[in-house]
Symmetry: C2
Subunit: 268 residues, 2 copies
Amino acid sequence: MDNRPIGVFDSGVGGLTALKELRCLLPEENIIYFGDTARLPYGTRSRETLLKYIAQDIAFLRRYDCKLILAACGTVSTNITPELAQSAGVPFLGVLEPAVKAACAATKNGRIGVIATPSSIRTGAYQQAIANLQPSFQVTVKGCPLLVPLVENGFIQPDNEITEKVVRIYLDPVKEAGVDTLILGCTHFPLISKIIGRVMGSGTVLIDAGECLARQARRELEKRDAFGTGGNTSYFVTDSTEDFSQIASLFLEDSVGGDVKWVNIDSL
Amino acid sequence: MDNRPIGVFDSGVGGLTALKELRCLLPEENIIYFGDTARLPYGTRSRETLLKYIAQDIAFLRRYDCKLILAACGTVSTNITPELAQSAGVPFLGVLEPAVKAACAATKNGRIGVIATPSSIRTGAYQQAIANLQPSFQVTVKGCPLLVPLVENGFIQPDNEITEKVVRIYLDPVKEAGVDTLILGCTHFPLISKIIGRVMGSGTVLIDAGECLARQARRELEKRDAFGTGGNTSYFVTDSTEDFSQIASLFLEDSVGGDVKWVNIDSL
């Protein structure tokens, strides 16, 4: 039993899709969600800038005596260094490894596709992680910079023509590579999974990286016998709390259901 | 005669369209361009966050003994307070007033449209500035959050179907209002002016806010007999200098033609 909170952080709002899974799998846990909304998006930043932002995000969560820290952000999970992950001082999980394990287990033909932000893709982390597990697998990756703004601006209806056209541009080469499994390597993408699924066709298994992270977090607590009680979620954001609450309800498909507090990024 | 540089700043790269006009109108001037690329885009931030960033941007340019400071960014120009503009310590110009003056002079039917970022539009600054000049004019405004990411990701070809569809969604209500003059209130928009012009129809005059700013800057130097010589442009950015140089060439339709230096935002 461990009633300390789980700390979850993200560039802003994408991580809320992972939070939703987490609250569903672990409804009794207390959660601190930190979104760096004054500096989003992370997915088009350089590595140097990202490492600075990630260090500040982790330092912020350390103030709350968390039992586990989760990066609910594909860009953070692929760019973080082992040293930075260790700086959390408690077990740290990102979306990369859980998603890669799930994809390697799901594929039948050994061909895996990965879509993520450009900053994720250029690290080569997905290819490396899959090669570590299954060196013979073929991996096709594609950076999709426009999907994050499309999602954040509400272009998420399953029949949205514009988003479908953009998805086709990005996914056509991935489809041509004959993948049977596609990792949604950015926590924004589950919101358009119906469009992505339609473009890929019913033969492709979609791996939701945020959902895999939530399952991994549950296993981690189980292993350590560290489940808690309370079920409260508190939110901290670096830009307007009102704007966050509004967009968060889109991502959570529900109201935020918890306090939202503003954090001065200069204090990070 | 005044050989001090002109300071130009922007959230990142949009201001380069204004810089291009400035270099064309004032080829002999020395220019310091500052782009806050580690924290772009500005156009979806809250006012509180923007005011903090703007104060830091101006403080950075003040280090370079500028004779004139220009906000080549619609979001900055509409959100800035008079006190912050005064903190520049030298004449300060934004895109708002020059664009509004040009639009009021151009319209024949007294109906002006404005497209800009959501953070610009929600200030009401365009409506206010037009009402101050011409209280009887009818103003139709529209925040266009997706146009900035479309432009930054290179969806700018005049026949780009996706951008045209998005532009139509935003502009249909503006068109229905019967405007004969449309202010492009964000310095990213000139890069898709052909698409915007086609959607609006040939009867609509497009006002390029960055171009208006460059002309106003020339008038300001003329008035003060403060033209300089040298013709050098130096760039400072808060994220990767390489990424900036690459996207800058898209905006300038030329190579950056000057040094690009990195600035640590924590030092701002």
